[in-house]
Symmetry: C2
Subunit: 326 residues, 2 copies
Amino acid sequence: MNIEMIEAAAIRLAGKVRRTPLLSSPFLDQIAGRRVFVKPECLQHTGSFKFRGGWSALSALDPDTRARGVIAYSSGNHAQGVAHAAREHGVPAVIVMPSDAPALKIANTRALGAEVILYDRALEDRDAIGAALAEERGLVLVKPYDDPQVIAGQGTAGLEIAAQATELGVTTADVLVCCGGGGLTSGIALALADRAPGLRARPVEPEGFDDVARSLASGRIERNARLSGSICDAIVTPAPGTLTFPIMHARCGPGIAVPDEDCLRAMAAAFLRLKIVLEPGGAVALAAALYHPDAVTGDTVIAVASGGNVDPALFAAAVEKYGDGT
Amino acid sequence: MNIEMIEAAAIRLAGKVRRTPLLSSPFLDQIAGRRVFVKPECLQHTGSFKFRGGWSALSALDPDTRARGVIAYSSGNHAQGVAHAAREHGVPAVIVMPSDAPALKIANTRALGAEVILYDRALEDRDAIGAALAEERGLVLVKPYDDPQVIAGQGTAGLEIAAQATELGVTTADVLVCCGGGGLTSGIALALADRAPGLRARPVEPEGFDDVARSLASGRIERNARLSGSICDAIVTPAPGTLTFPIMHARCGPGIAVPDEDCLRAMAAAFLRLKIVLEPGGAVALAAALYHPDAVTGDTVIAVASGGNVDPALFAAAVEKYGDGT
């Protein structure tokens, strides 16, 4: 993995992937006690940054291989990203999803033209299922994070952040990234290290599922004790990847863990002040920026808001509970 | 009013006003039966396009006049736009607001540093109140729509739409605009006529408050019979302006009126498919695009989503009612 791969991905993604803006609000600055900028990847095609990696992986395949189709396993956002990228390339996609994924994500993935195969998250191994199907049908497996072209695609968000921060005159800041397996975090870390070395990527995770924070602290891959029990379903993964971990270990600042309730508050704040829709797992970084200011350094913080594919009832509950701006 | 005033406003606004993207979703295309692009001005500073006009008007004043301060009367979005523009210019702002405006808009306007003066929408004349205060304190009145520099500022959204449509290869389309007094619609109509003559601005209003549609049809200014009773509070105004009406009459296609319930459906669709937050009055144009396809011509439609300053309970209700995507 290197910056050239991210630059090459950016060329393949041009005109296909949205360059999301950097948003801000004086009200958020006031809560955080410092300037806050938000990179709303919820506005990306399919509602999350995952379309970047999906497009990057598909577009990097040779046409004959790609034509046989792709397979992915995902709790939802990667599924939609790969499904949409496959449809735009005119090739079939098979998506292996946990049976307890939000109904909306399953329905959306099917509506994007993919064949969805459900599995039991507690009893079955998605990697084994994916590998078997890939073998059987001659499909290319697009991993959710531990894949160089996926990391390169997610890294294009980092190129944008570096350029946008430079335009704003921001040369030093923590860049908080919602972190599951580390594809987005490692991609952004690579891009920032090359383009804006004063910006430091920092993974943010849900409390109780802070495998990346613990891995960065111990210097080796640590695993989560369990894989359910957080509303941040999109970023609950077993452990950092074997590709993503060394990248993060070499370039990221310490991880931050936030309670689920702060994600609901951050979702309401983003609704109220930025007019964007976030899912809990896409709000952990903003939650850290707003409600854990002591964990952040500097007078400016950039929070990546990684996705917005939230079930309507949960979003309504967050907005009703915290929509008064407190 | 002419295109040069809009171009001059665009120069004054550069770096201060966000260039909002054009968003799309295959799911929205499917509902509408044609390609749909959405211009999300809810992502603008203060949550609506009104900051464009506010900044344009303030920045056009000579510094000595501006230093005495400004006054505006508004149901909320213009208030926030002017208040924020005044604070960014370091000058005082007085905002005259109806006492039944959403609590959130009143609170936000105060939090942006403005002095808020409330009046009774049914019994008092906001123009008279504004004029008296302006006289008394030496403030410059910034009208919500019937002001050349305000129209010029709103017109910068039209310059962006013209450029973005050209990038997308869209040369012919209806551009549906949420319409109150006509500041945004007339500004966009002027910009499109000059930059993208195949794009036709069309005002969209709530049913029962379609003064602009009726005025365009009759060729003279028609008034609304009443000024309350729609959830689209942001765009309920007595009649098109004396400046805005001739511009719209010369350049706009026929108006469209949509029921309130369709605005709630459009809010849920925008939540689900674009991950943006719209208020009812900011959703009328998208509602027309999605649920009144027979009123629209061509294979592509562009809907301006003009604002997102919605009370949380109303938004939660819309999302819970229509968030299943129907």
